[in-house]
Symmetry: C2
Subunit: 354 residues, 2 copies
């Protein structure tokens, strides 16, 4: 059942279950601190194909394929795919998931998309609209640079506040629950091997927050206000504090955005420092890997969530996580037109149920 808590938080009383998750990432990510946690790493930026865009689509395809295999679910048993990416017109998602024949609902929340896909999938399975949904996102350093910034061949200098777009994809399969475990209706024949310990208990949807940032090389600053707003609204709605959670993980604020988030929350007398991590600071070694302010992209929070975070929830190292993916709602066109860059942050509260 779906309950509303406070103004904007949704509580799932049955708790949609994460029945599997998978993450596929690129070479730089495979050299970072989380290397051991990914399902597959790829050293070729085109994945043996012709273009970066097709490679990014392949990342989504592989992530969903791995997640389905792990759970024993066949793709025809997945009722809906909620998917998105950063490319113009979300083509990595539509090309990557085309061959599965799964009813498709494209989502766009910039780098916040992974939390958005999980939130929507959770509402669908909890309400009975679906039994199993996939939540998938991706990003690719080369396709993102080409599209948002400069041709790679140009060798443009990066500013200190710039972040490095993660090459990778994450996929979670989310199933409806009843009586404390996954609903398995007769028509789903193939689910034999799933895990259902980790579940979604709450979601809190982001508002569009604009701090007036106009620097397209400082996404962390553009997103920090949205992260602060969502965290503040969620803690207020649920009447909880930061210390009630094992971990509060933001998507990809990086160094600059993280500092700004602390500052903004401080004004509301909220201190998350003691149990906060940022996926953009976890996936790369900032001293060694020359990524400036950290990682970013839809694939950043998605691949960290679907590998390190999920596996550590299964291992009970964490039992109770707030995952707040953050996005910068901009296009190069409107930045060139002098428009400011808004941010958005969607929150998903994961818990272990067993």
């Amino acid at each position: 059942m779906i309950k509303r808590i406070g103004k904007h938080t949704i509580e799932f009383t049955e708790k949609p279950r994460i029945i599997s998750a998978a993450a596929v990432v690129g070479k730089k990510e495979s050299e970072g601190p989380l290397a051991q946690w990914f399902d597959k790493t790829v050293t070729d930026t085109t994945m043996g194909g012709e273009t970066w865009e097709k490679a990014e689509a392949m990342f989504q395809k592989e992530a969903l394929t791995f997640a389905a295999e792990k759970s024993g679910v066949k793709s025809e048993d997945i009722d809906y795919a909620f998917a998105g990416d950063l490319l113009n017109q979300c083509v990595s998602s539509s090309c990557g998931l085309r061959d599965f024949g799964i009813p498709f609902l494209g989502q766009y929340g910039a780098c916040s998309t992974m939390a958005q896909t999980i939130a929507c999938a959770s509402v669908f399975v909890e309400s009975g609209a679906a039994d199993i949904c996939a939540a998938v996102t991706s990003s690719h350093f080369c396709s993102a640079e080409r599209q948002f910034r400069l041709p790679l061949q140009y060798g443009g200098q990066r500013t200190p506040t710039a972040q490095w777009t993660v090459t990778g994809s994450g996929c979670m399969l989310i199933a409806g629950a009843e009586n404390g475990t996954v609903r398995t209706p007769d028509r789903i024949q193939n689910i034999t091997n799933y895990t259902d310990q980790t579940a979604v208990e709450h979601i809190c949807t982001g508002k569009i927050i604009d701090l007036g940032i106009k620097d397209a090389n400082n996404m962390g600053a553009a997103m920090a206000g949205a992260a602060a707003d969502t965290i503040y609204r969620f803690l207020t709605d649920t009447n909880t504090t930061a210390s009630d959670y094992d971990l509060i993980v933001t998507g990809d604020l990086g160094l600059v955005g993280t500092e700004l988030l602390y500052e903004l929350l401080n004004k509301e007398k909220i201190n998350i420092k003691d149990n906060h991590k940022d996926c953009g600071l976890m996936i790369f070694d900032l001293d060694e890997q020359d990524v400036h302010a950290g990682g970013s992209g839809c694939g950043c929070s998605a691949s960290v969530l679907c590998s390190y975070l999920y596996k550590n929830m299964l291992a009970r190292r964490f039992n109770n996580i707030l995952f707040i993916a953050t996005g910068a709602l901009m296009s190069p066109t409107i930045v060139q037109q002098g428009e400011s860059i808004s941010g958005i942050a969607h929150l998903v509260h994961f818990v272990n149920t067993k």
Copy 2:
């Protein structure tokens, strides 16, 4: 309550209510056959602003403002905005709806987005996740040409299969129902003037269908296969035939796509010709307005639905409509890379309840 019918159709037993709708369109649309039905027409392509992109954002802002005013709902009582558009990174939606402070879930289904926003909004209100949601989309001829095709100043020749992107936006406000009318919880103070006769009874989500079309000037052909697939699956799931509906309205197949849709459905022994219309053929006079194969864009089906179709449902000229918005899932980048253009079509079944 949400019931599943057949493989992919969702039935809403309470039936989410359309409490208001509004459409704002541009000059060419104001000279077409549906001129009298729109809430506002704008002759200046920049709406007095600086750029087409900002104008498109303004169209969304005005459509939502009109819809809210008509229903007596204040924007703070709208729980979620499901919105999308065709611009890179869906910036018309994020810029247009930024000032309302409504929790925002960006949707991308190309020109099928209006049906997708209504479908997701319906699941949210029927499940109790929300009381009132907005479903909004837009498109703009000038911003779309600049982005997808050629600079307008170049004066490129259009092929006979090309369609004309509609300048406009449509917004529907959708509310949860119980006991045969709109739920009005205490916390919604301001809803005084709404209509709740027209409701959503079913939705059927599209799959990504690829007929191998590679011509970016023939979107109708790229989308027809998806429309045929969704209509076929919906009629099968519900065990109904085309004649059970007052009207079957596709989004923007135009002349070429409509013919192809008839041909594809004919193979399945389905004939929709007698009660089929296409928004792309309704919004313009093809003999007089030089739009070649018809209208297109997210704003096409949205503005036709939120004006002519909705008002004629309120007037009981139609009581039972299938609305199938169709989208071509492509970007200029992947078309230049030789990738084929997939289509998608989402279906919403509107009924009059009173």
